[in-house]
């Protein structure tokens, strides 16, 4: 068990391609950190640098009190769970679990005790004498986690461990990972491209884009106050609507419609406005945003209507029973609007919110 301190870490591959730059992250002991971002954002590279599978080009990684830049993966006191499980195919489940301990010359009784305990925890006791190929995907993933658990490492590193499982199994394994991590209290770094997985698992989310941190914060912080249009578009399903708009004094002009802001306007001129699909309401009043429905997605509990306001695409989430007509009037509570700089995409604090909201893009202490 240990804190992990990542400071000014960067990765430059041979040939000068920069995959990751200037990452600073303080991970507290026992914290569950999720690195999330689209493919190629450098999240796996960052994880692999912590694991020691990639050389660290810049900066330092500390596990506990020790700088581990030059330490072999085996000696970093970490355990890793891979996307394709990476179980040794010729060994039984028991031998898979034992292998790391044997290499460390752990006494026999200790190995047996730990393997049996991990197997019980993961409910794989009855499979201990099987080969991995005789197991289902979910069981293999449990074995892969077991291999990490028996080591009692300072940190777990997960590299998209659930991506190869079907949707239903993914949900239940997600719960299991979370429960297990709570119970063991081991510092964990988890890489995923699935924002839902990230939201549900994380103590703190790290949203990465283009090798840099876009935002760090608790899942709800990130959801409610995204630091940039990138984060806004990435976190949440359906993704936040981002539309071009113009601030005219205390009024917001989106396409043909004007919304009164009641003093929430952060600036004036062109902005990008973020509207969560579930914050938009239909109204019978005629002064709302005119919305033309193009098609509807039925989710059972929700209906998602996709359409246009002016010439900009917008999605609204309505309750399962809500009636949908071809043309609707929409309204939104001005306090639920997110403003982003039209050029840089960075968040602009609405004046009334500015006092209450915590500083963003900083680790929450």
């Amino acid at each position: 068990m240990a804190a992990i301190d990542i400071s000014s870490v960067g990765k430059i591959y041979n040939g000068g391609v920069r995959a990751v730059s200037d990452i600073n992250l303080d991970i507290k002991d026992g914290e569950f950190i999720v690195l999330v971002g689209p493919s190629g954002c450098g999240k796996s590279t960052l994880l692999r640098m912590v694991a020691g599978l990639e050389a660290i080009s810049e900066g330092t990684v500390k596990i506990g009190d020790r700088v581990v830049n030059e330490v072999e993966p085996a000696d970093r006191d970490i355990a890793m769970v891979f996307q394709n499980y990476a179980l040794y195919p010729h060994m039984t489940v028991r031998q898979n679990l034992e292998y790391g301990l044997k290499n460390r010359k752990t006494p026999r009784e200790e190995i047996d005790a730990r393997v049996n305990e991990a197997a019980r925890m993961l409910e794989i006791t009855q499979y201990l004498d099987r080969k991995p190929r005789a197991l289902s995907g979910g069981q293999r993933q449990r074995v892969a986690m077991g291999r990490a658990i028996v080591r009692k490492p300072a940190a777990f590193l997960f590299d998209e461990p659930l991506s190869n499982l079907d949707a239903k199994l993914r949900v239940s394994m997600r719960g299991e990972i979370k429960r297990l991590q709570r119970r063991l209290g081991t510092t964990s770094i988890y890489v995923t491209h699935d924002q839902l997985e990230a939201m549900t698992l994380a103590d703190r989310l790290v949203v990465l884009n283009g090798g840099q941190i876009e935002q760090v914060g608790s899942p709800l912080d990130v959801y409610h106050t995204p630091a940039s249009t990138f984060v806004a578009g990435f976190i949440g399903s359906p993704a936040m609507n981002l539309v071009k708009a113009e601030l005219q004094g205390d009024k917001l002009a989106i396409g043909p419609s004007l919304i009164s802001l009641n003093g929430y306007a952060p600036t004036s001129g062109a902005v990008t406005v973020g509207l969560r699909a579930e914050d938009l309401r239909t109204t019978s009043a005629s002064d709302g945003m005119p919305f033309t429905v193009e098609y509807v997605e039925e989710l059972g509990s929700q209906r998602l209507a996709h359409g246009l306001v002016g010439d900009q695409a917008l999605t609204i989430a309505l309750s399962g029973e809500a009636e949908i007509t071809d043309r609707m009037q929409l309204t939104i509570d001005p306090s639920k609007l997110h403003f982003f700089d039209a050029g840089t995409g960075k968040r602009l604090e609405a004046r009334a919110l500015a006092k209450a909201a915590p500083t963003l893009a900083e680790p929450v202490a």
Partner: protein, 280 residues
């Protein structure tokens, strides 16, 4: 759905007969006496000379010096075949391991140099090889027979392709589990290459077993004769009497065929897996 018809079976049966008949004829003929074969030609019927022929072939001393038996030749061939196969597998696995898993200057070049030697068959380099062995005083030794042919581009190439198909994560998991280069090779790579090893073993065993030119160059001492040479010399030596000993030549040919067939039959499921499957 395609229904299997009688003609399908017919084609298969004809094919099987076509391949098997010569062997059956050779075996059946070998059970007759030489005089019988000489007067009646090849035979498909069982003769009554089976035990006598094979006993004579296996135990009677022959050759110019008269101290080489069939059994001895079978043993020599086995030593050559197994020595070849095992040595080639060990060498080519180690070479492929170095090429695939270690970064060193000119690794790719080394591989291509090895690969290019595929273009140079034994016959091309047989004189220099002979010269080297002769200078080292290794003529008429088993190691002289085996060692010069051990480096195998084919084997190295097969193992390289196989190692490249092993998922990278397996190596990474092993590194995190504290396995060094040697442990990874022995504990992980060798066991998962089992089927590949079996396939290469068969190919290389048969290759070694069938060597004719090299043993003929390397050995003048008849106690090192292999079966392939023996078949020839039996005819040469015993032809001098009034009737050539066809039955013994056939018997020896059958004996020469048995070990490779046995090995293929024993290893065939692994063999096919090794060449086709990629279950890792």
């Amino acid at each position: 759905m395609y229904r299997i018809r009688f003609t399908d079976h017919l084609i298969l049966i004809l094919g099987a007969l076509f391949l098997c008949m010569p062997v059956v004829v050779a075996f059946m003929t070998s059970t007759h006496t030489a005089a019988d074969i000489h007067s009646n030609g090849l035979s498909l019927a069982w003769g009554d000379n089976f035990i006598a022929t094979y006993e004579k072939v296996l135990t009677q001393k022959g050759g110019f010096t008269g101290d080489i038996t069939g059994a001895r030749m079978v043993m020599n061939s086995l030593i050559l075949g197994i020595g070849f196969a095992v040595g080639k597998i060990v060498l080519s696995m180690l070479a492929a391991y170095a090429i695939v898993y270690f970064r060193f200057p000119m690794a790719t070049l080394s591989f291509w140099v090895i690969f290019t030697t595929l273009l140079l068959p034994l016959e091309v380099r047989i004189m220099p090889s002979y010269q080297v062995m002769s200078d080292l005083g290794m003529l008429n030794t088993y190691s002289g027979l085996i060692v010069p042919l051990l480096a195998s581009a084919t084997g190295t190439f097969y193992f390289r392709q196989f190692f490249k198909s092993v998922p990278e994560e397996l190596l990474e998991a092993a590194r995190i589990d504290g396995a060094g280069p040697f442990k990874f090779f022995i504990d992980i790579l060798v066991p998962i290459s089992r089927t590949m090893i079996a396939a290469i073993f068969i190919i290389m065993f048969v290759y070694g077993w069938n060597q004719y030119l090299w043993p003929m160059m390397m050995t003048t001492d008849e106690s090192f004769f292999t079966l392939m040479r023996g078949i020839k010399s039996i005819l040469q030596v015993w032809v001098g009497s009034n009737i050539p000993d066809y039955n013994e030549a056939f018997a020896l040919a059958i004996l020469a065929m048995l070990p490779p067939v046995a090995i293929v039959v024993i290893f065939q499921s692994w063999f096919i897996k090794g060449l086709t499957e990629s279950d890792k």
